[in-house]
Symmetry: C2
Subunit: 172 residues, 2 copies
DNA sequence: AAACTAAGTCAACAAGGCTGACATATTTTT
DNA sequence: AAAAATATGTCAGCCTTGTTGACTTAGTTT
């Protein structure tokens, strides 16, 4: 309320016209993606905080469940984080027996990552509210649009990384 | 030979079957949302890091541009963060003259937030790659599906918060 | 034997969330 | 008029999750 932050009135340089679709197309889709993703991730967050895990644990656990036997390098490539970042949460997932490591059969330097029964259960519990939200949204907006929505979201992904999606089972 | 191998097999608690759509429906949409959002936000990140801003600045600047004159409380409600978190980035946006504050005309406790020309320019520069990505994805997946995609994403948002979306101009 | 590779680890740092406590105007209620 | 409530700002400290850089160990490739 003092000096530096005082509101200036003499040089009124403010813009009062809203940024609109005329300035940049599809602003409504930009913010819909923001809101949809915000609420989509809020569901599992509620479960995670009860067991002192965060979103990082969720992502790691999710992909290990989606592709059991994934190596550390593969996981890093999917998540696009550094191995030091991964190490922190992966260690916790292993310590809490949600995930186990197995020395790679072909290349013994590699570590294959697998969920345990406990890890599978948690992954499912985290996926369920998201599944429900998606099912309800599909219902509400017309189930016949499913292919279109999948196709759009896939087209939003960088072309060189769509292979990652196809490498997951039953995700065609 | 019953030793190591035998023990390893019986104690082997790992799950090797991939989590699939049979376990929870729409896993493919769960990961598509993850990948799409990841790449969608990566575009503006490249611009932001050049000027030492982050995603938090982007979100604040975006909504101030979308609804000039927004108060601090409104912004907090949209972003779902605390005022302390907002203060940090908002202060920087004000100091760098991307945003100005004006004392509320009706209620003088309020601070209306407006972009400056500089702030509008930056918001546009950040929106453009996202607009392009969306336009290209719509093209690729069939422009006739636009309404369906908008409808789906809106249905993904918590019902009590869809009013936020409608309160933005030209976002019907 | 040497070079490369996969993974793990230590240390330090930054962004951007959070809580709690308190200050200052201003408006609303009593 | 006084008291209470509200909108905003600010100080201080904490947590998660990302980053870089340097180095180790084990195993594979050349």
């Amino acid at each position: 309320m003092t000096g530096a932050n005082e509101v200036k009135r003499t040089m009124d340089s403010r813009i009062t016209k809203a940024l609109s679709n005329e300035d940049a197309p599809d602003l409504n889709l930009i913010e819909l993606l923001f809101f949809a993703y915000r609420d989509f991730t809020a569901d599992p967050d509620l479960i995670l905080e009860k067991i002192d895990f965060g979103r990082a644990h969720h992502r790691v656990l999710y992909f290990i469940n989606r592709k059991p036997g994934m190596t550390v390098a593969e996981l890093l490539d999917v998540l696009k984080i550094t191995k030091q970042s991964l190490a922190r949460v992966l260690k916790q997932l292993i310590d809490t027996e949600h995930v186990v490591q197995v020395t790679g059969p072909r290349d013994r330097r590699q570590r294959e990552l697998y969920p345990t029964a406990k890890g599978r259960e948690l992954a499912l519990a985290l996926a369920l509210p998201q599944s429900r939200r998606i099912a309800q949204a599909l219902q509400e907006s017309g189930p016949e649009n499913r292919r279109a929505i999948e196709s759009f979201l896939k087209a939003m992904v960088n072309p060189d990384q769509r292979a990652q999606i196809d490498s997951l089972p039953a995700a065609g």
